[in-house]
């Protein structure tokens, strides 16, 4: 027993030390993002001097059109996953409840869209978007984010619907309900927890996207927020480091907070193979 007790203390101690070490970059970010550009110096990073965090954030927003980026990104991160979960659920419904012929083959087709790297689609998308006027447009961004969110959504929803007894569907048919009605009124409500999980995962992914924004957009109004942050870092990283750090903090807060409050969803989704 005393041995076990000691082991616990040692484990806790190791975790506390390692955890504090892990928080050092966060500390440095907070301290330096709060320094006003006048007091900020690259030589004294560890000591807090003043608290101008909010002013720095405002300046970051002003410098690089971050507010417009944020509004657009919020739009992408809400609309695209919302469409994708419904489209994915419809695919799962067709395969599981309606017993689509060669359902598994179709499932592999849809899910297969997620296994290759984005690099494989960048150039044709850029080319095609430029030709049809979708380049640097919000519609274009929403379409591409929706498409890349569908495979994972279909994957999870198919799995989820497999767990619902087929007699539920048969009973609804006998009641005379149309397939659309059964989908919208019976299957979707039952799957709400899975829908939310997929939505949160995809929204985070879209909020954090850099590459698609870099290739498919240009203007401050369309460009996603992380891509704008990268631009701000290369433009102002030298002269106004504390402003850039404040911008980074501002951009990161939504997903970090969302993640900390919805850890369980993430863990389950991730165990299923996203990213």
């Amino acid at each position: 027993m005393p041995f076990k007790h000691t082991a616990r203390i040692v484990r806790t101690a190791v975790l506390v030390v390692l955890g504090l070490f892990w928080l050092l970059p966060v500390y440095l970010l907070l301290v330096n993002a709060a320094k006003s550009p006048e007091t900020f110096t690259t030589k004294e990073s560890w000591i807090p001097t003043d608290f101008s965090l909010l002013a720095n954030m405002a300046e970051a927003v002003r410098l690089s059109g971050l507010a417009e980026s944020a509004a657009s990104t919020l739009l992408y991160a809400v609309v695209s996953p919302a469409i994708a979960v419904v489209v994915g659920a419809a695919a799962g419904f067709a395969i599981v409840a309606l017993r689509l012929r060669h359902g598994f083959a179709w499932f592999v087709v849809v899910f297969g869209g997620t296994v290759f790297p984005l690099q494989m689609i960048l150039l044709p998308l850029f080319d095609a978007y430029s030709r049809v006027g979708l380049f640097d447009s919000r519609t274009g961004m929403i379409i591409v984010y929706t498409a890349i969110s569908i495979p994972f959504s279909a994957f999870v929803m198919r799995n989820f619907f497999t767990g619902i007894a087929h007699s539920v569907f048969e009973a609804a048919v006998l009641d005379g309900a149309s397939t659309w009605r059964i989908f919208a009124r019976v299957y979707l409500p039952m799957a709400s927890s899975a829908l939310v999980a997929v939505f949160i995962l995809q929204a985070t992914f879209i909020w954090n996207d850099f590459l698609l924004g870099l290739v498919l957009s240009q203007s401050d109004t369309v460009r996603p927020i992380v891509t704008s942050l990268a631009g701000m870092q290369s433009t102002y990283g030298g002269a106004q480091m504390s402003t850039v750090l404040a911008g980074g903090l501002l951009v990161s807060l939504p997903t970090v907070v969302l993640f900390l409050f919805t850890q369980k969803f993430f863990a389950r989704g991730l165990a299923l193979g996203q990213y």
Binding site: L118, L123, A147, Q233, L260
Partner: protein
């Protein structure tokens, strides 16, 4: 097929009637919901086909051509692939990518497992895990902003080392391959938490009985880990390792954010080389060939965990 049948409310009978009188045999229709099912899966298939598969095929085609966006692609066979393997910059990029794969396996997966084991059944374990989880939901660029600041010349790290009397520090983001190593460590800083979370879920799902039995038999610490925990964590470990390999092969954001692949091409990864050849040098054919190469390697690695994944029974 008698038309005087009046109770036609069941779908199969509705369908049977509509199949007409020339279908003599009263065969059971194959599927009353076939059309409806096609309608439900169509949006997903169409979006994925148009936005993912069509571009995929076009990239594969372009990899066999010479093209810069103007005029028409010109067929050159495998010339781009030959050029690619002749280019020392590309070989360096492959080596860097391999370093990323090995490094992100060793550090975030290893430490993640360690944190999961340390917090397992520990009072307050959830809270002790929290510091590792905070960086997880940051974007690659966000991580890059923080670490570029810390690692800059005379930056936070150099100041800390100086406090311990270490003056002659390397140029973290300039000297290769050190710059790749420190970027891998920055990624590890971000990735440990989620691996710890996954391993924690794995540990929690281990049945209690064999554990208790082993404890009664006096197994502890390393013995317990080797004989009970590790074998039971194996399937999950395969998933975590597979994910880690696939993600590291695609490394782009953090490198683009911290070094842009530099100095020169010293810290380029495959994803970055592809981006530069395509969108900076307008070498569409060569860029596409690199994308195809990266895809083939990623697919090979994916098989590791896809088999596990497609056979898994649990949903969210």
């Amino acid at each position: 097929m008698t038309s005087d049948q009046t109770t036609l409310n069941r779908p199969e009978e509705r369908l049977r009637r509509s199949s007409g009188p020339d279908r003599a045999a009263p065969k059971r229709p194959k599927d009353p919901f076939a059309r409806s099912a096609a309608g439900f899966i169509a949006p997903g298939v169409i979006l994925v086909a148009v936005l993912l598969y069509l571009p995929l095929l076009w990239t594969t085609f372009l990899s066999l051509t010479e093209y810069n966006g103007l005029g028409d692609p010109e067929w050159v066979g495998f010339a781009n692939y030959l050029e690619m393997f002749d280019d020392p910059g590309f070989i360096g990029s492959v080596l860097n990518t391999l370093l990323w794969v090995a490094g992100t396996l060793l550090v975030p997966v290893g430490i993640g497992l360690g944190v999961a084991l340390l917090t397992w059944n520990l009072k307050g374990g959830t809270w002790l895990r929290l510091p590792f989880l905070i960086p997880y939901a940051l974007s690659g660029i966000g991580v890059g902003v923080i670490w570029s600041f810390i690692l800059s010349g005379d930056g936070a790290l150099d100041q800390a080392l100086a406090a311990f009397g270490i003056q002659d520090t390397p140029r973290w983001l300039v000297d290769a391959p050190l710059n790749t190593v420190v970027m891998i460590l920055a990624t590890a800083w971000q990735g440990v938490g989620v691996n710890a979370l996954l391993f924690t879920i794995g540990l929690q799902s281990i049945p209690k009985e064999p554990l208790e039995a082993a404890r009664v038999d006096g197994a502890n610490g390393l013995r317990l880990f080797r004989s009970i925990l590790w074998p039971m964590l194996r399937p999950l470990t395969a998933v975590v390792v597979g994910l880690s390999i696939v993600a590291s092969l695609k490394t782009f954001d953090i490198v683009q954010g911290m070094t842009k692949g530099g100095p020169g091409r010293a810290s380029e990864t495959l994803a970055l080389t592809m981006y530069k050849e395509t969108f900076v040098n307008s070498e569409y054919g060569l860029g596409s060939a690199i994308a195809v190469f990266l895809t083939v390697v990623t697919l090979a690695a994916s098989i590791l965990y896809l088999r596990q994944q497609l056979s898994s029974k649990h949903g969210v």
